[in-house]
């Protein structure tokens, strides 16, 4: 199964994968050959690609995945190899999310959808960081 990871600036990976675990918006899913055509949003999490015996993991913070019968393309605005992920990058992402959350709270009243989303995003980020063994500020 063809796996493609694309960012707006360049192609990050193109692999012949056995299976890909995607952090979908409604929950993780593992995609293998012959999966039903699906388009899913991504939440911050780990993208786990199995190539033969090796495993490659990427950190993604959003975007979407297009799953076809013969392949999967992940379009992410930001994706980093798990081993390249540093505390600094984590801090930066968290700051951005925190900033967005604050701005949403300033503009909209409580209970607005956008605030819930920002809260969920922050929660997903902290889950991801603990999975990576990184600290959250």
């Amino acid at each position: 199964m063809q796996f493609e990871l694309v960012s707006p600036e360049r192609n990050l990976a193109s692999l012949d994968a056995a299976s890909v675990k995607v952090p979908g918006a409604d929950g993780d899913m593992t995609v293998m050959m012959g999966h039903a055509p699906t388009i899913t949003m991504l939440r911050p999490g780990l993208l786990r690609v199995e190539v033969n015996d090796a495993v490659q993991e990427f950190v993604v913070t959003g975007g979407f995945a297009e799953i076809g019968a013969t392949g999967i393309s992940v379009l992410a605005e930001r994706a980093v190899l798990k081993d390249d992920m540093t505390q600094d990058q984590m801090d930066e992402m968290f700051d951005e999310a925190q900033d967005f959350y604050q701005r949403a709270k300033d503009i909209k009243s409580d209970g607005a959808e956008i605030i819930d989303e920002a809260e969920k995003f922050l929660a997903d980020l902290s889950t991801m960081s603990s999975e990576l063994g990184l600290k959250i500020k």
């Binding site: 960012s7 600036e9 360049r10 055509p37 699906t38 388009i39 949003m41 605005e77």
Partner: protein
Amino acid sequence: MPNLKDLKNRIASVKSTRKITKAMQMVAAAKLRRAQEAAEQSRSYAERFDAVMGGLASSVSGSDSAPKLLSGTGSDKNQLLIVLTSERGLCGGFNTNITKLARKHAQDLIAAGKTVKIFTVGKKGRDQLKRDYSDMFVGHIDMSEVKRMSYSDAQTVARDILNRFDDNQFDVATLFYSRFQNVVTQIPTAQQIIPFKIPDGYAAADTLYDYEPDEEAILADLLPRAISTSIFSALLENGASEQGARMSAMDNATRNAGEMIDKLTIEYNRSRQAVITSELIEIISGAEAL
């Protein structure tokens, strides 16, 4: 007739100009290659994105719940023109061609009774449009600090524009930039980005997809990204066009300088010879008079 010293100075100054234009041409050629690579590499994201957007948008656009970014505000009274130009000059007709197209659109819209607002990215476009349309300017983003165009630069522009849209400052937004064809041809292009237009050829998806969470939620999330993506590819195309235009403009300038040097050198030699001849005549006639 200019004297010898003037001619000599003139030749020296044209020679140094030629050196500068030659250097600029070579720098532009190197930058062009990088800009083209960047444009090439971003294409695959944009294409996949458009394909997904096309399928989604065509299935949702009929319904009442379609987001405003797709269906429009129901009016086209307030028009925003987003003009992308370069930060530096000396690139031939590059900036003029873009502003000319924008100006034509602005005049047509004004004639049709619409309200026109202008948003510029890049100093040159702002300078050129300011003369006639200074009262229509609503914003400007400076890119002179940007060395290498990145997606976050496009996001900055997109965020600014989307905030204005949420604020009901305009109904329709059109992007003006130059599409890169080759080194000698750049095509000034107008592209409507709000309401989002489904790109040609992607109107109907050929596979039926399952959507998670659901079509509307995905579309609401993707539309702002689609705007960023459009702006990003426009900025990259513009970057390549600018370098291409500069390269051919500087090539011309270098050639012109070469021709001028040849001409001046001939003139210099002629007058030097004339001076020698007249000196000789003076000596000979002086000797004869003795």
